[in-house]
Symmetry: C2
Subunit: 323 residues, 2 copies
DNA sequence: CTGAAAGCGCTTACAG
DNA sequence: CTGAAAGCGCTTACAG
C-alpha cells in the first residue's frame, strides 16, 4: 500500500511537503503541488483516513446510527442526510443496531447522529449516550438531558390530524398503533383540545409493521359506535390498515377517513392517495446536518431545534356523513 | 479523551501491559488483567480503533456499499449480513452511494462488500474496483474480472418462473421491467427453453419503483393476444403492477397470473399473496460473510460462489383457462 | 517555499 | 509475567 513517503521519494520532495500539497496548503508552490498530485494520481495513492484522524483529529466522517432499516422512512432520511452532509464537506457512514453507538465512538468519527430509536431501555441508552466522547445528538427525540437535540413535535402533528378530521365533521376518531407513547399522548391531548371524547376502545393495538396495521383492522370488532376516521401510527401501519379496510368492504374516504403519519412517497401511491402528517423530510436533514457540523466546530447552538410536522392533503379524508 | 497511557498510570503498570491486558493476551497475569480492566471500565476507556488499525492493520470492521436504500431488499440484506458478520467477530458499516467506494478504501476497513448496483458506467466501476487496496468482492454480480464474487443465478431464477407458468398452461408470458438486461436475457432464454415465442411487445417498460410497475400496467394497451401471465422485475415493480391489474378489473390469479422477483416479506402481504422467485436471503448473507472473512484471512477461495434463486409458491399463479 | 522532527494512540517483536 | 522501544501513516508547529 502506497504512502506519503513513497510519493515523496517518487516526486523528489520531503514527505511533509507531500502532505501539504495533498491538502492544498497554499504555502506550497503551485508547480511542486502539481508534480506531487500527478505522482499521487499515477500511483493510485489513497490517503489513510485512520492515520489522518489520529494525527489531526479530523476524519470528515459523520456516523448515523439507526436501530433498523426496515422502515422506508429511514432510507429517505439517510439519503437526504447524506446529501446535506456532503454539501458541508462530510461523508456519512451508517451503522445499524445497538452496537452502532460503540462502533462509532470507537471509530472516532468526527460526529454522530442517532435516530431516536425504540429503545428497550431508555435509561441505559442515556447513560451510554452521556459517555460518548465525540460530538453527537439525537434526532427525533422529545428530550435529551443536557445536550442539544432535534425534536419532532409529534404531538402537534397528531393534533393537526385530529383537528383536520374534526373540521370534516368527524367526532369518533380512532388511532391505529400503540407502540409510540408520545403519539398516543398527542392523540389524547388533541381530542381534549378539540372537545372530543377519549375512548380507549378507539386505540387499535398495532406495533409498527404493515402486517400490524393490517391485522389491527382485521381483528377489530366494529360496532355502531366505531370511529368514522382513523389516524395511523406510521407509514407502514397506515398502509396495512388501508388494505384491511378496503378488503372489509369499507370505502376510503367515503365510509372511513384515514390519515397516516410519515409523509413518504409511498403514501401517495397507496390504493387511495393518503393524506398524511409528518415532518418535512428535507428540512429534517438540513437541520440535522447543520447541527452536527455546528457541534463539531464547537459553536454555540440553540436547542432543542424543533421540527413542526405538516399536514399533506390528499384523497383519504372526506366529510363525515351520518348514515 | 482517555488513552492507554492514562490507564497505565492509574493502574500502575506500563502501557504495553495495558494493551495486552485489553486484548486478553494470555501472557498477562490474571490479577493484573483484572486490575487493568477494572480501571479501564471505571474511566470509560474506549479503544481508538483508528490507532489500532494503524498499528496492527486490523479494525474488525467491514464495509457494505450500496447505491441506494430505497429498495426494501437492501434493508433485508443489510440486516442479515450484519448479523452474520457479528457472529464472525466483525462490525459492519454501511455506505450509500458512489462515494462509498472511496470512503471505505480511505477508511481502511478490513474488507468491503459491494452490492452490484445499477452502474451508469460499468467500465469505470471495474477500473476503480481493481484499484481498491483492501479485500473486497461484489455481491450479486454476474462476472468479476479476476476476482472472487458471488453470483446470483438470475437467469435460472427467471427460467424457474417461466417454467412454472408454462406448466400451468400459460403460453403468453410477459415481463414487466426493462432496466436489468440480465433478467431480460434470462426471460428470453427461458422462453426458448420452454418452446415459447419471444414477442417484444410482451416486455412492458418499467425501471424499478412501485410507480414504474404501476404505470407500466396502466399504460399497457391490452389486446386479445396479451399475456395471460407476467413476471415482475423486482419486488416494487411487481407490487405496483399488481395494484394496477386489480384496479383495471383483472383478477389475480384467475385472469392474470403474476410472479415477482425478490422474495421479501412484503410480497406475501400484497393484495394477493405473491408467488416469487429470488435468492434465499439468509443464505446470501451467510455466503457473503464467509467469503469476505476468507478473503481477509488470505485463504484460497473457490469462485464464483453461485446462489440459486428459488421459487416460492403462493397465491398469484393459476392454471390458464381459455376464455 | 520546503524540510526535519515530534506526536497522535495503539501493537508487537524483543529483552529481561 | 512485564516493560522499553520502534513503528503504523499521517499533520503541524517550527526552523530555515
Amino acid at each position: 500500500m502506497i504512502t506519503i513517503k513513497d510519493i515523496a521519494k517518487l516526486a523528489g520532495v520531503s514527505y511533509s511537503t507531500v502532505s501539504k500539497a495533498l491538502n492544498h496548503d497554499p504555502r506550497i508552490k503551485h508547480t511542486t503541488r502539481e508534480k506531487v498530485l500527478a505522482v499521487a494520481e499515477k500511483h493510485h495513492y489513497r490517503k489513510n483516513i485512520m492515520a489522518q484522524q489520529l494525527s489531526s483529529g479530523r476524519s470528515n466522517i459523520i456516523g448515523f446510527v439507526l436501530d433498523e432499516l426496515n422502515n422506508p422512512l429511514f432510507a429517505n432520511i439517510s439519503g437526504n442526510l447524506h446529501a446535506e452532509l456532503k454539501k458541508l464537506g462530510y461523508q456519512m457512514i451508517l451503522v445499524v443496531a445497538d452496537e452502532g453507538m460503540d462502533v462509532l465512538d470507537h471509530l472516532r468519527v468526527d460526529g454522530c447522529i442517532f435516530w431516536d430509536y425504540e429503545m428497550t431501555d431508555r435509561a441505559a441508552f442515556w447513560k451510554r449516550f452521556s459517555n460518548i466522547q465525540i460530538p453527537c445528538f439525537v434526532l427525533g427525540t422529545d428530550d435529551s438531558p443536557n445536550s442539544p437535540y432535534i425534536k419532532i413535535d409529534r404531538k402537534e402533528g397528531i393534533y393537526k390530524a385530529v383537528e383536520h378530521l374534526r373540521n370534516n365533521g368527524h367526532t369518533e376518531i380512532g388511532f391505529i398503533g400503540n407502540s409510540q407513547p408520545i403519539k398516543l399522548e398527542g392523540y389524547r391531548e388533541a381530542l381534549q383540545r378539540t372537545g372530543l371524547e377519549w375512548n380507549k376502545d378507539y386505540i387499535l393495538p398495532a406495533y409498527s409493521s404493515w402486517e400490524d396495521g393490517y391485522f389491527a383492522i382485521r381483528n377489530y370488532e366494529w360496532t355502531s359506535k366505531s370511529p368514522t376516521a382513523f389516524i395511523g401510527l406510521n407509514n407502514m401501519v397506515t398502509r396495512g390498515a388501508l388494505r384491511a379496510l378496503l378488503e372489509a368492504g369499507y370505502k376510503v374516504p367515503s365510509d372511513i377517513s384515514l390519515i397516516g403519519y410519515d409523509d413518504l412517497p409511498d403514501m401517495q401511491y397507496a390504493e387511495v392517495a393518503l393524506t398524511t402528517i409528518g415532518p418535512p423530510l428535507d428540512e429534517l436533514a438540513i437541520q440535522a446536518a447543520e447541527l452536527i457540523v455546528a457541534l463539531i466546530r464547537g459553536e454555540q447552538v440553540q436547542y432543542p431545534v424543533i421540527i413542526q410536522p405538516q399536514l399533506y392533503h390528499r384523497q383519504s379524508v372526506a366529510s363525515y356523513k351520518a348514515t
